[in-house]
């Protein structure tokens, strides 16, 4: 932390003025360029806009979200996004995907970071090999894995059969039972390196004399990990988890390429994309995008509250 600069001194005032001057460009850029499209999408969600005639859109209120159709005889039915079972299926798919993949990625990321933090022959090469999957564009890795998971020509089935792990070839990406597993496998493979990298950074900041002291005191290594290492790297893990969860909740390209048109893997983003561009229900898709935004915002608030994240980066 920088020393507390007195805000009343001339020097202090100069610094505060400079600070605001430095912040302004970023705030302006974010507000204008990120806020405007967002505002437009939210506006579209309250209209009857269609992709072919965006300029003729007129205000319809909340009809895209919820609409009660009264049949006149005391009965009626709800329509709209909030009453759409396929939307809620997409919400559920997304949450399940995000929860499982981010948990696995954090776990594996932690293990890999611990391994990479130790010294052994060829560490540089191993580090490079482990970090590379993350540096590959998602569409490439999705293609690569789709090929490896192919039911007839895929090497995954060949290996599974050869090792006796499976009895018959599995159509990984097409079968409803395995589609989500396939998506999670690829996402974990791709993103664990990112987690490992950020956690590794946190690990290397733990002063080695703490370990030394624990070793001299004869503390069991497992206990050292849970009592010393883990609390110290918690801020690093939290930042990694938040950024990762934000991406996982919006997952699109991986699902879209690996398992197109699959009810079991259709995420909120894919649902929005289909309505926006394929089903000619632009306003409905905008409403889905808006709700997605709300769901994610709620999740972030929840994560931060539960994780009691110390945003100031102070280490306890």
């Amino acid at each position: 932390m920088a020393g507390p600069v007195s805000r009343n001194s001339e020097l202090g005032r100069q610094r505060v003025r400079a600070a605001w001057g430095f912040l302004t460009p970023m705030l302006l850029v974010l507000a204008l360029a990120a806020g405007w499209p967002l505002a437009r999408t939210i506006w579209f969600s309250f209209t009857d806009a269609r992709l072919s005639g965006l300029d003729e859109a007129s205000w319809v209120g909340v009809l895209n979200y919820v609409e009660y159709l009264d049949y006149g005889d005391g009965e009626g039915e709800y329509f709209g996004l909030l009453a759409d079972p396929s939307w809620w299926a997409a919400v559920w798919n997304t949450l399940r995907f995000a929860l499982i993949s981010v948990t696995l990625e954090t776990l594996f990321g932690l293990i890999i970071a611990l391994v990479l933090n130790a010294s052994f022959p060829g560490r540089g090469l191993v580090r490079a090999a482990v970090l590379v999957p993350w540096a590959i564009p998602t569409i490439v890795s999705a293609k690569m894995w789709a090929w490896m998971m192919h039911d007839q020509f895929g090497i995954l089935n060949d290996m599974g059969l050869a090792l006796g792990l499976i009895d018959a070839p599995i159509a990984w990406t097409a079968s409803p039972d395995t589609a989500m597993i396939a998506v999670i496998i690829v996402d974990v493979w791709k993103t664990t390196p990112f987690m490992a990298l950020l956690i590794l950074a946190g690990l290397q900041l733990v002063p080695s004399d703490i370990y030394e002291a624990a070793r001299i005191d004869g503390v069991h290594p497992v206990k050292v990990f849970f009592r010393i290492t883990l609390p110290l790297i918690r801020p690093a893990i939290m930042v990694a988890v938040i950024f990762r969860a934000l991406d996982a909740l919006r997952v699109f390209d991986l699902v879209y390429v690996l398992t197109p048109n699959n009810d079991r893997t259709r995420t909120m983003s894919v649902f929005a994309q289909e309505n926006l561009f394929q089903f000619d229900k632009f306003a409905y898709g905008s409403a889905a995008s808006t709700l997605l935004f709300v769901v994610i915002a709620l999740m972030v608030i929840l994560t931060i509250t539960l994780g009691r994240m110390d945003l100031e980066g102070r280490r306890s």
């Binding site: 391994v115 540096a135 564009p137 690569m144 490896m148 699109f252 390209d253 926006l276 997605l292």
Partner: protein, 276 residues
């Protein structure tokens, strides 16, 4: 005796680490191997590992069909451009938040995350319309700006956490010695911030290099980077796995090379402060 145990442990550990690395690296290895096969060998069952007729034919076909150099250059311009623009905006902002923290700093950091809460598909049309109206469709400029926006939050967050680690006493001392704000930043802060900035730079070049959603949506022929180059080989009909593998290998080769050369800097930069 004790030494022998330690050595054996170390050997086991090394083997585990190498196996782990091989497992993780295998899909990439497989893609590279497939790229040297004929299409018939590529779909052979059981799969052929190393004993097949190695051929460069896929690479020549890919090179004939599309202009690798142009896509490569677009990728370079877009990823470098957006990273530098992002750093230009984010560095002063992160400095402000780290060294002159106010009551709103925390809220500001959170608010920045909100740009990462909107699905890309959801804002595609508004952004597409803006680009169309400004005449920026299929231009590298538009992609540089958009990728800057996408990565700005993570750039600011990373820089902020590095700047936080810089001991305030050093800045204090410089102030005591009568350093102006300008020389304080230029001569005291900047040298200490370089590793953090360097690793942020690397990380964001990789992030920008990988971005495929916006590059596919907003480019056609002129400004298309390598991600679009691969996508053009992903026809669902017909089996062109060897060619797709060759195209993928060509697209990821620069990143493989960069990853190899920069993994030390990347880790060291991210662990800035570890030397203390």
């Amino acid at each position: 005796m004790a030494r022998a145990v330690t050595n054996r442990r170390k050997l086991v550990f090394t083997l585990v680490a190498w196996t782990l690395a091989l497992l993780i690296f295998f899909p990439i290895l497989w893609t590279v191997l497939t790229s040297f096969k004929s299409e018939a060998d590529a779909i052979a069952s059981p799969p052929k590992f190393l004993f097949f007729d190695w051929t460069l034919e896929n690479y020549t076909t890919v090179q004939e069909r599309s202009d690798y150099a142009r896509h490569f250059w677009n990728s370079v311009v877009i990823s470098l451009g957006s990273t530098f623009l992002g750093l230009l905006i984010a560095t002063p902002a992160a400095w402000s938040m780290a060294f002159v923290p106010g009551k709103r700093t925390r809220d500001l950091l959170m608010w920045m995350l909100s740009t990462k809460m909107m699905p890309a598909v959801g804002v595609l049309v508004p952004i597409y319309l803006i680009c169309r109206d400004l005449g920026l469709l299929d231009s590298r400029t538009a992609l540089v700006v958009i990728l800057t926006l996408i990565n700005l939050p993570i750039i600011v967050w990373m820089l902020y956490s590095y700047f936080k680690e810089i001991p305030g006493e050093i800045l204090e001392a410089a102030r005591m010695d009568g350093a102006s704000l300008r020389s304080e930043i230029l001569y005291v802060l900047a040298p200490m911030a370089v590793p953090g900035i360097a690793s942020t730079l690397l990380l964001n070049i990789i992030l920008a290099w990988n971005e495929a959603f916006w590059t596919l949506a907003l480019t056609a022929a002129k400004a298309a980077p390598l991600t679009a180059f691969i996508a053009s080989y992903s026809s669902p009909e017909g089996l062109f796995y060897a060619k797709l593998s060759a195209a993928s290998t060509m697209a990821i080769a620069p990143i493989l090379v960069m990853g190899w050369f920069s993994q030390k800097q990347l880790v060291r930069g991210l662990t800035f402060g570890a030397v203390k």
